[in-house]
């Protein structure tokens, strides 16, 4: 049983109350909201042909939107609403985490509930409806005493389907800031921690199966008119919800939330910042796996307190500049622009994590390729891979323009897989990250950029508007500024990419602190 002697299992288990609790809460809230909206809609539309098909059509369309995209769409939507409400009514709300997740998941749960409620109600025999009228029931009494009880088994089957969908899809709410069992999966995929991935999948599957079985018990109870089964199932659901509510109420909320995007270096750096804040006597926790589009807005609207971004990313993606400036000039400009949004650029960590075109050293030497300019003539016969965002980023457009690059094929990959892919020759070139430890590990080479098409990417620490004059926070973070050079960060990233117990972001962050603390 070597597999289960890995200490990461117990580490994963330690997160379970938090992740599972959040997962259950967001799922239950979404399902409850979904039912609250779907049931009256289904009842109102059941006997009207046009509204019924419109309703089912809309719910089907929602279902075809991938869960991840649906969740991601709700963040900017709610953010805009929150800003409007703040401007008009002076009341703002947090568009981060719980609220967008609940709304998107509720929408996702509607189709099976709508469809089964309408099918169940329309399946009641006309003779029974006539009898209900004949014994003197009002339409409302007929609905409550006859139609709904008879449709209930079919409706419960729909609710079960919805519950399983919601619990499964809730794992995708991690990138919009809602802690869930997806935290295991997102963190595990990024840091190649397969124990976490497996743990997250198993936990989500067990939860879905458990809830499904409890609801099945209720459904069978209703079908067979067994009060005992219905009570047992309902008590099980209630116990599950209660069990996940109690520990979260006992725990004090963290004063500081540290954000992290969805790649290894970000997990390590956020773990490091949390450790430093705790060492300074502050309460802090991390909110990991946030989408690039979500994290900056979350900071700007005070939903998270601090995170590490990269100068070129903000420059090109957030502020939509297409020109490339010298490093310090760009930093100054950025600092001023951020200050307008009352965001503090506290300082640089000391390394840059730039995009760079990377290929195997031997292949590059054999072809005589040293720079991107040399690559251009070989490119039409080559294939290239990059992460999910690179090809739509302005840097790629800039690179193509500066060097006339055009590849035979372009592929998008999970960042941690692309180094192995280029090393094995599955693709010829990748857009890697300069701070990635895998470059050295796989004996890859970074191609020069003589025309400076790629902007600088200094790692910078950003503080939320409400933390602008927080001296405790500033002094806790001060020792990190300028302290992490590129080789140290590469080594840290390489350690974090390992697949053993010393490679968890926390362990690597502790190693990193020891290393920079000594200097």
């Amino acid at each position: 049983m070597k597999l289960f002697s890995d200490p990461r299992w117990s580490e994963a288990l330690a997160h379970l109350p938090d992740y599972l609790g959040n997962h259950v809460r967001v799922s239950v809230a979404a399902l409850a909201l979904g039912l609250l909206v779907s049931l009256p809609l289904a009842i109102a539309a059941r006997n009207r042909r046009v509204p019924r098909s419109v309703l089912l059509g809309l719910a089907s369309i929602v279902q075809t939107v991938p869960g991840l995209a649906l969740l991601a769409l709700f963040y900017p939507l709610l953010l805009a609403l929150a800003n409007l409400s703040l401007a008009w009514f002076g009341v703002g709300f947090s568009a981060f985490g719980f609220l967008p997740a609940v709304l998107a998941l509720a929408l996702y749960s509607m189709l099976p509930v709508l469809r089964n409620t309408i099918t169940g109600l329309n399946g009641v025999e006309p003779a029974i409806l006539e009898a209900a009228q004949g014994v003197g029931m009002t339409p409302r009494q007929s609905l409550l005493k006859v139609e709904l009880p008879l449709a209930l088994p079919v409706m419960m089957a729909g609710i079960r389907t919805a519950a399983v969908w919601v619990i499964g899809t809730a794992t995708l709410s991690t990138p919009i800031g809602q802690t869930s069992l997806g935290n295991y999966i997102f963190a595990g995929l990024q840091t190649q921690n397969w124990v976490y991935v497996l743990f997250g999948c198993l936990a989500a599957a067990a939860l879905a199966l458990g809830v499904d079985q409890l609801l099945a018990l209720i459904e069978i109870g209703i079908r067979n008119r067994s009060r005992a089964r219905v009570t047992l199932g309902a008590a099980g659901i209630a116990a599950l919800v209660a069990a996940t509510l109690v520990p979260s109420m006992a725990r004090a909320p963290s004063a500081y939330l540290v954000g992290a995007k969805t790649f290894t270096e970000q997990y390590v750096l956020s773990a490091l910042i949390v450790q430093r804040l705790r060492a300074a006597g502050l309460t802090a926790s991390s909110r990991e796996g946030l989408g690039s589009n979500v994290i900056f807005d979350a900071l700007a609207s005070n939903d998270i307190d601090v995170y590490v971004d990269y100068s070129g990313t903000l420059w090109a993606n957030q502020f939509h500049h297409s020109d490339v400036r010298p490093r310090l000039e760009l930093l100054d400009d950025l600092k001023a622009t951020l200050a307008q949004q009352r965001i503090t650029l506290l300082g640089e960590l000391g390394f840059a994590n730039a995009y760079a075109l990377v290929m195997p050293r031997k292949r590059a030497e054999a072809l005589g390729i040293h720079s991107i300019a040399d690559l251009a003539s070989h490119a039409p016969a080559m294939s290239m891979a990059a992460d999910y965002e690179f090809f739509s980023r302005p840097e790629w457009a800039g690179l193509q323009k500066a060097y006339g690059l055009s590849f035979r094929a372009q592929r998008q990959m999970q960042p941690d897989f692309m180094y192995a892919a280029v090393a094995s020759g599955e693709v010829d070139v990748i857009a890697g990250y300069t701070s990635d430890g895998l470059i050295a590990k796989y004996d890859l080479v970074v191609l020069d950029d003589p025309r400076h098409a790629i902007p600088p990417y200094d790692a910078i620490v950003l503080l939320a508007p409400k933390r602008a004059s927080d001296s405790a926070l500033r002094s806790a973070l001060q020792p990190l500024l300028g302290a992490i050079d590129i080789s140290t960060m590469r080594e840290a990233n390489l350690r974090a990419a390992g697949n053993d117990s010393t490679s968890s972001p926390d362990a690597v962050a502790r190693w990193l602190w020891e290393k920079i603390g000594k200097r």
Binding site: A127, I128, A131, G136, K145
Partner: protein, 267 residues
């Protein structure tokens, strides 16, 4: 006929169904006038599509008339709330129409429950009704409709119709789906109840024999029109060809039975 005012009175009632255009509309009930006296047992006989079911449903406003007027217990039904009207008229459905998710007792007690009768009163009324329709209390009280035979289900249907002590009971082919023996027994049992409780009953049937055996008067419907109305003896004197045709079957049955089953000393 008696001098007392009729309990149910149809006056020139018309009802049509179907599309908006006059051509597509089907006249289900065409200018029917008919009085039902208190305590009378009236059977309405006719083939399918004759309008007999529509005529019955007009009385408790399961269907509203297009023209003419209907009075029940002296009131114009259009002036009465249809829900309270239905609660004071018993209705027995074809093959029971019992609620499949409710026990026998809950089915029987439904109308009193809708009328907010106290639970204890409903419980004793249910027991009384089970006795009345000759079902044993203990084994049937908590059973579900699907656990009953067709005849038992129809007995529960009759008990449900009588639960709120109506003066009027409407029956829509109540015994049509039963086997002949059960049908006969149930018919006799109901007829006895009708007398005992002083009910006014309107029963629909497509079976002239049943109508003649149970009813005081028989109404014959065809294509929405009331073709004939009278006691069995009056009907047998009718010159109408269709009425004659309807009476031929029971007559021939009676003759053949007399031949096939001679009784000592009789015939």
């Amino acid at each position: 006929m008696s001098d007392a005012p009729p309990l149910i009175a149809y006056a020139h009632v018309g009802k049509s169904f179907g599309g908006r255009g006059a051509a597509q509309r089907v006249l289900a009930v065409d200018d029917v006038s008919l009085d039902v006296a208190e305590g009378e047992f009236l059977a309405i006989v006719g083939g399918s599509g004759s309008g007999k079911t529509t005529l019955l449903r007009l009385a408790n406003r399961l269907i509203d008339a297009d023209s003419g007027s209907i009075t029940v217990e002296g009131e114009d039904v259009r002036a009465v709330d249809p829900v309270s009207l239905r609660r004071r008229i018993g209705y027995v459905f074809q093959s029971g129409g019992l609620f499949p998710h409710m026990t026998v007792a809950d089915n029987i007690g439904i109308t009193p429950k809708l009328l907010r009768t106290p639970a204890a009163e409903i419980a004793s009324r249910v027991d009384e009704l089970l006795d009345l329709v000759r079902l044993d209390r203990a084994p049937y009280h908590d059973r579900l409709p699907h656990e009953l035979s067709g005849g038992q289900r129809q007995r529960v249907g009759v008990a449900r119709a009588l639960a709120a002590r109506p003066r009027i009971v409407l029956m829509d082919e109540p015994f049509g789906a039963l086997d002949p023996l059960t049908r006969d027994a149930l018919g006799d049992d109901y007829h006895a109840l009708h007398r005992k409780l002083g009910l006014t009953t309107v029963m629909i049937t497509h079976d002239m024999t049943e109508a003649i055996l149970l009813a005081d008067r028989v109404a014959v419907m065809r294509s929405g029109r009331l073709l004939a109305l009278g006691t069995p003896a009056e009907l047998s004197a009718s010159a109408d060809a269709y009425v004659g045709e309807l009476l031929r079957t029971p007559r021939r049955q009676a003759e053949r039975l007399n031949v096939l089953l001679p009784r000592d000393g009789a015939a």
